[in-house]
Symmetry: D2
Subunit: 238 residues, 4 copies
């Protein structure tokens, strides 16, 4: 095995589900020790409260929504903002609360088109100067953001709907301090775990402590959405 | 006329073509003195090198493209970024040069689909790690950015195309220093012009001096794209 | 009491130690129910892992240090950056790790001038292109940042030292997503606690759950520096 | 001469006065063709309206001042912000106008301590919630920013003065779109000038056109402060 012949004794693999699953195959085939570090903007990895990149992405999206709201001065304007998250609504839910969205559509919950229309009607009646709807890519309504726009414009003709698809800009940018400190702590923990002979684990931040979870478990499960935040969002947007 | 009865003797109107055209109707009907200040992110007003908001929008878009490029590490990735500009390509052209785009599609020029494909093939051969195409809303190819994606993926199947539609986030954000200084200078000039009895003009910044152009002329013409920049873009992207 | 006569039944007080101490006096004198929400960039409040404003300040400072490092291309340059923190080193320690500072001087630990000089000599030998030292206002060495500069330039004449005193810019700026979500959750918890008759508490985020701590306890104690982070900083900077 | 032996036929030198002066010595000694490109945040080069880096620095400083103003809610607070500019007040003057400073102290004008105190007294009477004074490093009053603070606190004891010394963070950061486009245009012009045999010139942007100025002239003179902006500043701050 070439990797051993150059003196590499263990690998630190950084990524999400796919990276870890690949790593485990590699590990089984060659019995080569690994430690995983969770890094994905989606924050959907079991065994850690936070993945590297997630906090940075939240700030990027909130800044984008702030800029959209700056010009949302007409009460007939409705903004649909598509954010990343095919399987997990962590980004949508957090930026929705952080940016004061009227509605948040996430993969974990099927709000339903009826409730969306109701909510927008109510928002309009309450005299809000503008409405922002955050839509995760994988939202359960089953329409993409342009189909949603057409649907809403048809049923609520008093609205002009504008769409932003943030796309890959959510993956870039200079990392937040939180992400840098998290990455530094995880890196140190990963190396120390290897030195202690503990491998085939993923490093996670649980309750602000560095903890190890077996890679197998990390790949099999997913982190759950914070139900409290759904409630906070409902309270804040009414 | 109510506006006179409360002691208002002149109006400073701030906006683009529509605002000025409306102001001129108002002026003709009521013979009420006006001064216009050009403020639109599109920078397409005759009689000024720069409109208020334009420089801020350029920075916003360049920042967004920088974030997209951060993750564009695979040479099979192609990013189409739609920016504002239904009738004018000032934003697309400047951010395209500023962010090193491979191609820039603007309303003023019909590049043609063939040349686009050629250019992308050439870019791929040259070993670039990623390609970014900036598309103004009103580009002359006559396809929207999603139709363009489908067309390119069909003809260049080796590419995975990703789309960002920046939308109204381009209109917001904290103003750049350039825009603030421009706005302060235009505001002072507008008030001083009124005090000197010069009205029905638009204030403009021409060669870094505050100059007056008749509102009528400002509305009838449009600022032209900088041809030198088209050439710079061609040189930089090859 | 006027506040009752207008129908106010409880107060949510937002701030740090001083605010809470004042609130408790008010509470004792008038027996008026209160809930405290911790908001200070210093993050030194007992009963919560995070105070509102702290995460935003960390990002602001890290961005500033990044800009300083951009130009730190000469290996003879040394940058001393004074950050807030008269009694607590949370900001200095986290931004120091986040921005890769060579040394971090905090109120909780007296590094000593000798070790500072040693560390800078070692950093120079290791061929680093520049060195950044983060200094909390209340660092225990007992010299202000300009006196430190003079001391270091005298003892390490091969260095040119540059100083930035960030000052109050650390208190401003648009809040990070983390701070917004934290503030929303704390606000909801505060109101719900009042409705449940639980008052004279401070809302805190402990292990990512909203928890109550008596205001008295919150005022008497302080949050401790994270010792693990001191170790991470030592490891990362050598 | 080694540089010729490896096939280099001309140099494009990028920098300020010092770079150009050095280049001219090199040119005289070896008769080696040069083209200069002006790049300094100070914008004090003759032969160009804008130097590369200047626009980016203006935005950096205005952002910093915005953050300071965010917390300047008490009318007893006075902020002195030291910005770069030992010999030229371009940065101070533009950010002062852009951020709405009450006073701007620059090397080109000696405002005098008396007028500063007068202005601050007037600002206080007018009920402003806070006052910001921008101080160029090389301001002509002859006191550094901390001595100024002490002087003002002694003579206007009703004020609490806070100081920020922005330092080298003004030199870093991601370039603005304006600076990127300027740099691209200057680069193209520099290469084209060399190809046309026009050397020992500096490329400049004059009235938005790329123009050549002899390096000798560029080094001997300096760009002047915009007097109109001094007037705008006076009008805006009263």
């Amino acid at each position: 095995m070439q990797i051993k012949s150059v003196g590499i004794e263990a690998l630190v693999i950084i990524g999400g589900d796919g990276t870890f699953a690949g790593g485990m195959i590699f590990n089984k085939e060659f019995n080569f020790p690994l430690i995983g570090i969770p890094a994905t903007i989606d924050n959907d990895i079991f065994g850690t409260n936070f993945t590297i990149g997630y906090d940075t992405a939240l700030n990027t999206v909130v800044e984008a929504i702030d800029k959209i709201r700056d010009t949302a001065s007409s009460h007939k304007r409705l903004f649909f903002i598509e954010v990343m998250g095919r399987d997990a609504g962590h980004i949508a839910l957090n930026v929705g609360v952080g940016a004061g969205a009227e509605e948040i559509l996430i993969p974990e919950e099927n709000l339903g088109l009826d409730r969306l229309l109701q909510s927008l009607r109510r928002s309009k009646k309450s005299g809000k100067s503008s409405s922002i709807v955050v839509v995760a890519e994988g939202d359960k309504i089953g329409k993409n953001v342009f189909e949603l726009r057409d649907y809403v414009e048809e049923h609520l003709p008093e609205y002009e709907v504008r769409v932003s698809v943030l796309g890959h800009l959510q993956r870039g940018g200079s990392p937040s301090c939180f992400d840098r400190v998290l990455a530094s702590r995880m890196g140190v923990k990963a190396v120390e775990s290897i030195l202690e002979g503990k491998t085939n684990y993923m490093v996670g931040s649980i309750n602000n402590k560095m903890e190890l979870t077996s890679l197998e478990k990390a790949v099999k499960s997913h982190s759950k959405i914070n139900k409290e935040l759904l409630r906070v969002s409902d309270i804040m947007s009414t």
